[in-house]
Subunit: 139 residues, 2 copies
């Protein structure tokens, strides 16, 4: 099934490109930069996280992230808290204001998700969720 694999691959890439473009547009409308929103999004979904892990998830170096986090601390979005077991590490955590920003951004995503799957029936939507969860597990 070479052709179908190709189609699936390209459909997936197209989805990624479109979501990426949507995200850029949404971010620019608000007063925040893409890395900042990205950070809020990741912390909101996964909870507090070490610098290194966060940098890997975003796909930037820790040096770059340090600068970004500095700005976000100044903006009151996140705080640095010491790591319980490893004194080299710190955890980056959303403040209440950061959580509010996550909630607001998440709402936009929710609306988008809703729109994109408007023509799906309940069982299809459940299947789509199952597919995404299985794919994410493999990642």
């Amino acid at each position: 099934m070479k052709n179908q694999d190709d189609s699936l691959n390209h459909a997936m890439i197209e989805f990624y490109e479109k979501l990426s473009s949507w995200e850029m547009a949404v971010v620019k409308d608000k007063g925040f930069s893409l890395p900042q929103v990205h950070t809020v999004e990741i912390l909101g979904l996964n909870g507090p996280m070490r610098m290194k892990e966060l940098a890997q998830k975003i796909g930037i170096t820790t040096g770059t992230l340090t600068v970004q986090i500095d700005k976000m601390v100044d903006a009151g979005l996140v705080v640095r808290v010491p790591h319980a077991n490893d004194r080299r590490s710190i955890l980056i955590e959303l403040t209440e204001s950061g959580q509010a920003m996550f909630a607001e951004h998440d709402k936009l995503h929710m609306q988008l998700t809703h729109d994109l799957t408007a023509k799906f029936d309940d069982s299809e939507r459940a299947m789509l969720l199952d597919f995404f969860e299985r794919i994410n597990k493999e990642f």
Copy 2:
């Protein structure tokens, strides 16, 4: 079904974040910048495109894109060709070398897609493709 909608939304975001992270890592390994690969990817999937359309898809201004395309022309990845009907516009088109880069990058995506859906059976994979295509159509 508020909870399920939430789950679907977050699974979708998680997928996007992971794909985004994967893309960053892949790009950095090669000698090219993210915008360059992004451009090649979009042109490879959609064919030649005007500056404005390309900028919108990437999510940057045309001013920024002009600079990027300059570099990519120098690198031999793309060419500017005049638009047939509108002399204000130009089309950005992949060169052979650009197409080769797309093919190589696409291969990596293909491998990823394959790995992520390794545990899917044929009918599930077909359904996933159908879902993605319907979602992309709504975007």
